[in-house]
Symmetry: C2
C-alpha cells in the first residue's frame, strides 16, 4: 500500500476554507460530535489498540513505550473530555483586539485567522491524534496527522471517529487526514510540500525534531527538551523555596516542566543546603553536585559538564553553588533549553532583573516550574511547548495555531 501525501496535502488545502469559515455553532457541533463518537466507538478503538499492543510486545518495545501506547476505557473517556473542553473554550477566530484611527483617516486593526493546513509529526501516544486534531479544528485549520508506526491501528480507529463527525456536519474528510502508512518516505515527501502545508509541528525525541527542522521547507515549530532551572537567591524565603523545589523535582519526573538543575546563591548555602539535602534524602532524589555543595549530600556524585545539560526525567538533579545573581543568569543562558526557569527571592530588584533578563519561554517568580503547561497558564489544552522563538514561544494552545491579518476600514480613502 502506498499513500499519496502530495494528493492528500492538496486535498487538505482545498478543504481548508470549509473549516476556516465554519460558524462558531457548527464548529462546536463538530467538536462535540467527535467527543460523542469517541464514546460510542470505544470498543472498536480499544480493539484496534490491542492490535498495536500485541505488535509492540512482539517487536520487543520497552514497557515505557507500551505504557504510552495503551488505551483503556478510562483513557478514551479522558480524550473525549479533553475534546469537550476544547470545544467550550472561547472562540479564537475573528477577534479584533483594537482598531486605531490613523492620520490619513483610515482605521486599522488586526483580525485573528487560521494558519491554513497544519501537520503534526509525533510518536507513540494515540491521544495526540485527537488532541491535535481538536485544537487545529478549534483554530480553523485543516490538519494532517502523522503518528507513529507503533500506534497505526489505534490511529486509524481514531481517524474513523474524526471522519464520521466531519461527515455528519457535511464537511470533507480531508479536513483531518490521518496518514495510514507512517513510513519515512511519506514524512520526507511531506516536508517539501510548502505549497499546501503552512506549518509542521514535530513532537517526540530530539532526533526526530532535529531531522524535521533540518529537512523541512515548511516552517517548523520546535518542542525541544526542558532543562528547567530553579535559582534560590540569597534573599530567598526557604519556606517558599523548599516546597517549590519539591514540587518541581518530585511531583512528576517524566515531564518537560520538571526541574533538572538547582542553583543556590553562595550566601545562603549554609542555611539552605542542609534542608535541601534532607528533602532530597527523604524523597530519594539522586544528586549530581558541584564541588562546593557535594559535602552536604550523602551519596552524591560529582557533577560533570554533561550534568549541566542533562534532562534527567527521573528522580535526579544537578546542584550548583553560584557566587552571585549574574553567575546564575549566565549559567542558565549557557545551559538552559529555553523552556522554564524559576527564581525564588524576596529581593525585588533581583526578581525584576530575572524576569527581564532571562529569556526562556516561561520565567517564574516564587512559583513551581510545574505550572509551565497550557492548562495551568490559562490557554486550555496545549499542542506542545515551543522552545523556538518564532511565531510562538512557550505553551501553545489553539490561539498559537492562528495568525493575524491587517484589516483596514476606509470610506474612499486614497494615499496622497
Amino acid at each position: 500500500m502506498t499513500f499519496d501525501i502530495k494528493l492528500a496535502a492538496a486535498e487538505a488545502k482545498a478543504a481548508k476554507n470549509a473549516i476556516a469559515n465554519l460558524t462558531q455553532a457548527a464548529r462546536l457541533s463538530l467538536l462535540l460530535a467527535i467527543a460523542k463518537g469517541l464514546r460510542s466507538c470505544v470498543d472498536s478503538i480499544i480493539d484496534a489498540n490491542k492490535i498495536d499492543l500485541a505488535n509492540a510486545k512482539e517487536n520487543g518495545l520497552s514497557e515505557a513505550m507500551i505504557d504510552r501506547l495503551a488505551l483503556d476505557e478510562a483513557g478514551v473517556e479522558a480524550i473525549a473530555k479533553a475534546v469537550e473542553e476544547i470545544a467550550h473554550q472561547p472562540e479564537v477566530l475573528g477577534s479584533i483586539n483594537s482598531i486605531q484611527p490613523l492620520p490619513s483617516g483610515i482605521q486599522v486593526g488586526k483580525m485573528r485567522i487560521p494558519l491554513g493546513v497544519v501537520a503534526m509529526i509525533y510518536e507513540s501516544r494515540p491521544n495526540v491524534t485527537i488532541d491535535a486534531a481538536a485544537l487545529c479544528l478549534k483554530a480553523g485549520n485543516a490538519v494532517i496527522l502523522r503518528g507513529g508506526k507503533e500506534a497505526q491501528a489505534s490511529n486509524q480507529a481514531l481517524a474513523a471517529v474524526l471522519h464520521s463527525a466531519l461527515e455528519k456536519q457535511g464537511l470533507p474528510a480531508a479536513i483531518a487526514t490521518v496518514i495510514p502508512v507512517p513510513d519515512r518516505e511519506v514524512m520526507q515527501s511531506m516536508l517539501t510540500l510548502s505549497d499546501s502545508i503552512d506549518l509542521i509541528i514535530p513532537r517526540g525525541g530530539e532526533g526526530l525534531i532535529k531531522y524535521v527542522s533540518e529537512n523541512s521547507q515548511i516552517p517548523v515549530i520546535q518542542h525541544f527538551k526542558g532543562v528547567c532551572h530553579l535559582f534560590v537567591d540569597k534573599d530567598a524565603d526557604l519556606d517558599k523555596a523548599l516546597p517549590i523545589l519539591e514540587n518541581g523535582k518530585t511531583q512528576r519526573t517524566g515531564v518537560c516542566n520538571a526541574l533538572e538543575t538547582l542553583l543556590v546563591h553562595a550566601e545562603i548555602v549554609e542555611q539552605a543546603m542542609p534542608k535541601i539535602a534532607s528533602l532530597f534524602s527523604q524523597k530519594k532524589v539522586k544528586v549530581h553536585a558541584c564541588e562546593r555543595s557535594i559535602s552536604y549530600f550523602d551519596g552524591a556524585s560529582p557533577a560533570t559538564e554533561a550534568d549541566w545539560e542533562a534532562e534527567y526525567l527521573a528522580l535526579e538533579i544537578a546542584v550548583k553553588v553560584v557566587d552571585d545573581f549574574d553567575s546564575a543568569v549566565t549559567h542558565i543562558q549557557r545551559y538552559g533549553s529555553g523552556h522554564t526557569e524559576v527564581i525564588v527571592t524576596e529581593n525585588l530588584g533581583n526578581a525584576q532583573r530575572f524576569m527581564r533578563e532571562v529569556n526562556s519561554s516561561v520565567i517564574m517568580l516564587n512559583a513551581s516550574s510545574r505550572f509551565s503547561d497550557g492548562g495551568q497558564l490559562g490557554l486550555g489544552a496545549e499542542i506542545g511547548i515551543s522552545t523556538s522563538k518564532l511565531h510562538a514561544y512557550g505553551p501553545m494552545g489553539a490561539q498559537q495555531l492562528t495568525t493575524e491579518k491587517f484589516v483596514v476600514y476606509g470610506d474612499g480613502h486614497i494615499r496622497t
Copy 2:
C-alpha cells in the same frame, strides 16, 4: 579574502545580550549616534558609492539597478532621518499588555523580548543596510547583514558608521555585522547556522527568496510578490472606486502594494466599465481584459492565465468581470499572493464577508491598496511585508522582530 561567517555568527550570539539588555536611554543614544554618523560621514559614503556605481556601469547593470544603487547627499540624509524616526518610536521591549490571575493563584502575563540574532539577505539598495540595522537594534536584536555584491563598497562605508556608533556606546561591533564578501558560499553556510541565528529575512527577487526558503535550517520570513486585487462590488460607490483604482494602479507602479488585477461585479459593468476605460486611457494604463470586458477598452489585449498571476509593476492591469461576490473571492484565493486585497462596496454584508473570508495579509474596505505599508498602517518604519503566515503576516516593523515569553508571578505557589 575569506570571511568566517560561522565565527561572525557566534560573535553576534555572544553579543546579543548586550543589545537586548540596553536601557531605553542607551538605545536611543545609539540610534541617534548612527544618524549623526551618517551625516558626518556623508562624503566617504558617497565616495564608496561612486566605486559601486563605476563597477555597475562597467558590468553593464541595468539603469533601474543603477538607480536603486545610487546614493547622493539627499539619499544619505533620508536614511539618517529614517533612523531618527525609528529611534523616537515607542519602546517595544519589556511591555506586558495584561496580567491574568488564574485559579491556582499565580498571575500570568507575556513580556515582549528580542528574537536574538536576525540575519537579512538583500539585494542592491544600500539604504536597507541602515534601515534593517536600525530596526533590529530598536527591537534589541543583534543583526547580520548580507547585502548585494554590487553595493559592497557602499555597505562597508555604512558598516563603518554602525561600528563607530556601537563603539561610542561601549558596545561590541559584533552587534551589527555587515558581511564584507557577499559571495554565495557565505550565504549557503549562513543558512545552516541555526545554533547562532534565530531568523533569516530574505528580500529581493522571487529566486532569492525561494532559494533561501528551501535551503535554510533557520526560520525564514518570506516577502514574496504583491498581486493585489481591487474588487468593485455591485453596490460599489463609483465615486470611491475610481479614485481608489487610480491611486492603487498609477500613484507608484514599481511597488508591491500597487494594484495588478481589477475584478468588476457583472451587475455594475455597464455603469462602471466606461468610466474605468476612460481613466485607463487618460492614464495610459495598458489593459489585459477578459472576454466580457475587452470591448470597453481601446487596444486591450485578451487576458491569459499568466495575466491573472502577473505582478506587472508597470502601467498595466488585468481586468475581469465576475458573476458574483463568491466568484471574486474564489479568484483572489486562487491567484492572490497573500499581500493586499481591496473591496469597494456600500453593502455591509459583503464588506463583512470580504474582511472575514479573504485571508491575505492586508484586507481593505473602501481604501487604496497603497496604504499597505508599515508607515501608513502605524508601525513606523518597516523591514518588509511578510506574505507567509508564521510569526508575522503583512507589514513588519520593530515589534515583529520580537517575540513574547510568559512571565509568572507567585508567592510560593506549587501545583497540586
